[in-house]
Symmetry: C2
Subunit: 362 residues, 2 copies
């Protein structure tokens, strides 16, 4: 990662290959900025829907795009990128979540000139929904967008891709393809697997046991609801880094089981302490230094009007919310809302909320 | 688990042993209901603080409590329960998060009459903070409170403990001690371990890699910030069920690694699909059937006043929020707020928010 290079916006026309959630969202964002966008998809129905939403128009005869954005599923990515490099003289990028394996496959197929026009990229945005109807011009707003030039990418190609990210409202970050893949293996793919394994352990549990589920297990397993069809492609495309990290996690799991069986408390404490260190290493909001957070719990009648009133009071008190959770609550008409704030602000927030009539605790 | 028995509130006086977060919170809740509460702690400073907060008074000469609530760390729980049974003729309960091993240790020490006055319990409430200053009369409000009678508990003892839970504002659920421990191993202890192992894999990661951290990895690892000193006691006290489930998770991890290495897509899809099933098995809000949720993302200027305005609009639109996340956002003055709602309500919410000027997407 390095400082962003000076950028020029894509002048268009831009050809988007794959009019699903990401491709249609790119089309909507660029069209909204006045860039001419053409859309192609194996399912012509998707093109019809996306053009109906205003994401662009079908590819005209003899079209010569300046930039091609490949937005197809991971299994088809390398072929679609190579096709675009061979059939146009445009800069070509893609929005896939894995970068090294597709680059290797493209390199094996295309000429050196063609390869120099390719710069991979990866907007860190998405949705549990898919298809063009779930698309939005704002999908990338405020999100990181990884730009992964390779050894022979031209500076012009990199500038075009950075311009694409910025036109979509995202913030470009610069990685080599392998560095990117190692990073997302750790921050996205392995967490998904771990969540999925944990959620799998709930699948056959007695319902009475699951009645004791709190916010913790909900948080740990939430991402595991993602589409298995898409995730098997992502994990397969990034298998080596994912397997490497999963082996490390598995080794630590074995150590923890042994420590529990042998009642070796220091070993157990060391593994748990390393977990505390890991949570503290995740960067804070706005990419700043990690903020040590704590929860302030407030009893709130369970409808959004009361939650709005609470947050208006939090705003008036002047404390910055890092996050918020609505706690799940068996058999009562009140909700428990957890306000996540910096440790240094928690006591002040609690007492100021109490002054305004809110019952809460730290 | 069975239907709640008819209950009688604890008439008091109640002796609370251990004036930390939980003990002091019990004292505050009971004192607020007019019950006489006495407080004891090895650290007399804690008693002074708790009585200063209004949680009760120091134990008087010749005190004869009707109920003893043991609220000491897991390592000291069984001894403190046995002491209370031997030195009083009161009903004795505890608020520890593990039930079978302490019961076995108590049974090995006390008489049959003494044992019949013991009913374990476990309020599913807590905080990342500890000590009497973090206590609150509302800590248990709306929370599940597991009541774990054993074979020879008297009905009077169970009624006293159910009354305690209800006076604290919690909802009693009934389990055998082992059933309780199996349930919390699955819904709390193993999720904590899994989160901790995942967070541990972030501890030494390059900061540039962690800049790609999104909401997913934050959710998966959040609980891993919990106190390792407390968690090693909890895990050690419930080692057998935790180890059993961790072995199952480890076996699935090995299967997933093998599937990735051998590119066996159906095996990979099956493991991921089981995770999807697990997330769907967690009960919905208020203990009702699971609600199929989705996220609606809204761009919000990053201060609580705007969030309040958004939630007032959500309230006016009449959609019920299941949860809410404030997305973390590198280098921008806007936040992205994820409103978690039932799938059936997402499209209506999006269009109604758009009518009110909010830019969002599904």
């Amino acid at each position: 990662m390095s400082a962003p290079a000076p950028t020029t916006p894509s002048a268009g026309p831009v050809l988007v290959v794959g009019a699903g959630l990401l491709g249609t969202s790119v089309g909507l964002a660029l069209s909204g900025r006045g860039v001419e966008v053409w859309l192609r998809d194996l399912q012509y129905e998707h093109v019809r829907t996306a053009t109906g939403l205003g994401a662009g128009s079908p590819v005209p005869e003899g079209a010569r795009p300046a930039l091609v954005v490949v937005a197809v599923p991971p299994d088809h990515l390398a072929d679609a990128v190579a096709d675009a490099l061979e059939t146009t003289d445009a800069v070509v990028t893609d929005v896939g979540s894995v970068k090294a394996a597709p680059l290797a496959a493209v390199r094996a197929r295309v000429s050196a000139e063609e390869l120099s026009r390719y710069v991979g990229s990866h907007p860190l945005a998405g949705s549990e929904r898919s298809g063009p109807l779930a698309a939005s011009a704002r999908l990338f707003e405020g999100r990181p967008w990884a730009v992964t030039s390779h050894e022979t990418s031209t500076p012009e190609a990199q500038r075009a891709v950075v311009g694409l990210a910025e036109l979509c409202g995202a913030t470009p970050f610069f990685f080599t393809p392998q560095e990117h893949d190692d990073a997302v293996a750790r921050t996205s793919h392995v967490p998904h697997v771990v969540a999925s394994l944990m959620a799998g352990a709930l699948a056959d549990a007695p319902a009475t046991h699951l009645s004791l589920s709190g916010q913790g297990v909900r948080d740990v397993t939430r991402v595991a609801a993602g589409d298995p069809g898409l995730w098997q492609q992502i994990l397969s495309a990034n298998a080596a880094p994912v397997v490497g990290l999963l082996r490390e996690v598995g080794d630590q799991l074995d150590r923890l089981v042994a420590a529990l069986e042998d009642a070796e408390r220091p070993a157990l404490a060391a593994i748990l302490g390393r977990g505390v260190d890991g949570t503290a290493a995740i960067p804070g909001k706005h990419g700043g230094p990690p903020v040590e957070e704590t929860g302030v719990f407030v009893v709130v009648p369970d409808h959004p009007g009361e939650l709005a009133r609470l947050l208006a009071d939090v705003g008036a008190i002047g404390v910055n919310l890092e996050d918020l959770h609505i706690d799940h609550d068996p058999g009562r008409p009140t909700g428990l809302v957890e306000l996540r704030v910096a440790v240094a602000e928690a006591d002040h927030l609690l007492s100021a909320l109490a002054d305004r009539g809110w019952a809460g605790h730290g």
